[in-house]
Amino acid sequence: MRRGGSAQACESVEMSTLITNGWAGRRVVVNLHSREIDFEEIPHAHLRRWIGGRALNVLEIRQRTVPGLDAFNTDSPLCMAAGPLAGTLAPCSAALHLAARSPAAYPSTIAMAEIAGAAGPMLKLAGFDQIVILGESDKPVCLVVSDGTVEFRDASKYWGFDPASAAEAAKRESGKAVASVLSIGIAGENEVRFATVTADCSWPAEAPGLGAVMGARRLKAVVLAGSGPMRACHGPLLREKAKDVRHVFSRSEGIRALSRAGTLFPMDWIAGSGALAERNFNAFPAGKPGLGTEEYLSRFKGLGTGCWSCPVDCGRFTGGEELTSQGIFFGGLRFEAAMSVALRLGLGRWIDVLKVCHECMKLGMDPASFASLAAWLTDCYERGMIDARRTGRVMAWGDVESVLAMAAATARREGHGRFFGEGSLREAKRSTDSAERLLPHVAGFDWPALDPRVFKGLSLSFATAPHDAGPLTSLACPALPGFLRFSPGLGKISGRESWDAGFAASWDGKAGLLAHARLLACAAQMAGVCRLPAEAAFAVSARDLAEMLYAVTGEEFDADGLIAAAAAVMAAEWDMMVKEGLGLDVLRPPARFFAEPVPEGPFAGEVLREKDFAGARGEYIDAVGRARGRGGESGGGGSPAL
């Protein structure tokens, strides 16, 4: 790759006036320590083969790091990449893919997230496919990427701000009227291992830890401002295809459900399913009618908002009189955060759940990971395994004030918070083996809210790729009762005509379903569109993606080739994990779910069995392997050899 000039403080590259095939054809490599800015051309053949977004990030991290490298090492890159569809008329083409080595994982492996808002298009219209950030600044800094220029701005004035205030300050100081801002909060500044990056004031990246990576580099914010222009290679074709996909969206029950309630739409089923496991998976209430979707919408509004070019509007702003009277109005609440805080901590009222989620997001840390930590501490405290000298306070289930105080201490690393900020697994490792065993996690990635003994697909999802098993995957894979109505295509894939609660607890078809969902999501993230419509509602197919890619880039893509490329990228991620020592013996659901059956309720007796799990995992690996083999050597963007 050709290297451009490097310079101090500010550098620009001569922009071609128009991006005509979806790719800007260049990445910028920024060193925060030396203040060097390198512009690198990305060869067209490389882009043609790996498309963009997630694939570019995975390849870059693989190339620039060695096994065992600490997540906070300044040689470890923080990568941001957009796909060729970003910034075009393609529906949901807002996605920016973020990746780095994970500070939350143990040992550190890859962490990745999709950023909502308009960050992907802004990066592309600024003239870049990818940003690679290295080094550590000696003072708080903001990176401004705008129309072929990259510059460093002092961020000292808003160091210590919450993510939303920091984003506003960074945007104001950059002088960019139209921009997307990624920022971190206090938790990120203090290198809390589950700190998040927040986009455009409200939208947290679902992977915990990326905020800590930014904080460790004293990078408070990244301002992306692009004005383009960009032209699709086959404009009329893209116009037609985009219209077709939007039409499919308008008819999809799954998309309608997402539009109505955001990712919180399955809460009603879960609250009434009898498959709830509360208080660190120790209590099993019959139902939780007060925590349903309708309750949320009627009392707390759940006002919809959309990302760039997205007709789904699944983003949610939470308000309502009860909260706004307390000065709380916030965006970015998602299914996984709400479920984890409600169930893991045993909170029975929406208002308490929302207060905890809001506090965590204001501090810039992942509510789900924090809930996992707090639930584990409370569990151990109640069992007498640890005492108040270790927790800093008396711990009790449902004590919201205590949880809020603990969140603040954790983000600021004050008192006992200096340990809590290390994340649940590192904290658990300071305890006895029996206490550590109570923590549900896979290689340091905190287990989500749903019980893997009931939701078998979820257990497979987390065990096979914990870095990629965020809230979106968990929507499709638990096979919630009634979900088939929202995603009719899944019936075909899973070979079932109806989906009932019993299906959720079975292994039937889960491996194929998960492989299909995950490959599709990966292909979407490579192309530069949001994974949600593809993965949770199955409203975008690989063929749709291939056709839109052809319309934008002018290059021939086919569905099989695209899926094969996605499979190769997933294999590269797997390979990185194996090289860190995360083999099949480590990547598995927590041991307690194999040993302790669900004691009561409609799913009493359900437990993970070694043989069933190993069989499903084998099926999943085979399914991904078969997909990889279908692409051929040159067709459709795929490559069997990475």
Binding site: T17, T88, L89, G228, W308
Partner: protein, 154 residues
């Protein structure tokens, strides 16, 4: 009877699809600066406000234009004669809505032309924040909304 694109900002979700399709329809490309409709964003408070030419009955941009490139046609549309435009930007300064803008490449005035009666932005708006209605009907709709709001208070 004058037609305009009516904006109900309460329904806008900030997806900016209107900007995308507008730039595509007029220029065959994407890029917010090329759009005739612009969405002002206040993301922290979930507020979005599409701004588009209102085709005013007494348009200040027409009065301000020194080269008479902007004019009010018989159908009520504020039209721009690209040949006559000198790119002085007086229309941008005069428009109280901020709906007038200049082409980022050539520097001449651009503005909403209602896509010859079928605005692409309205067609693409999934949340129905944008509506294309004749002026009289628009006023009637607003009257009715106003009446319903007041009736609801009883």
């Amino acid at each position: 009877m004058r037609s305009t694109v009516f904006v109900n900002a309460d329904l806008c979700t900030g997806c900016k699809l209107c900007e995308l399709v507008c730039a595509d329809a007029h220029e065959g490309l994407t890029g917010p600066a090329f759009s005739r409709i612009r969405v002002e964003s206040f993301p922290r408070v979930n507020a979005w406000f599409p701004v588009v030419c209102a085709h005013c009955a007494k348009p200040p941009c027409v009065a301000a234009c020194p080269s008479r490139a902007r004019s009010k046609d018989h159908g009520g549309l504020v039209a721009i004669d690209a040949e006559s435009c000198i790119g002085c930007g007086q229309c941008v300064l005069a428009c109280p809505l901020g709906a007038a803008s200049m082409h980022p490449d050539d520097g001449f005035a651009i503005g909403c032309d209602l896509c010859s009666g079928s605005p692409a932005c309205v067609e693409a708006c999934a949340s129905k924040a944008l509506r294309f209605v004749p002026g009289v009907l628009g006023a009637r709709g607003r009257r009715r909304n106003w009446a319903l709001k007041n009736l609801a208070r009883r």
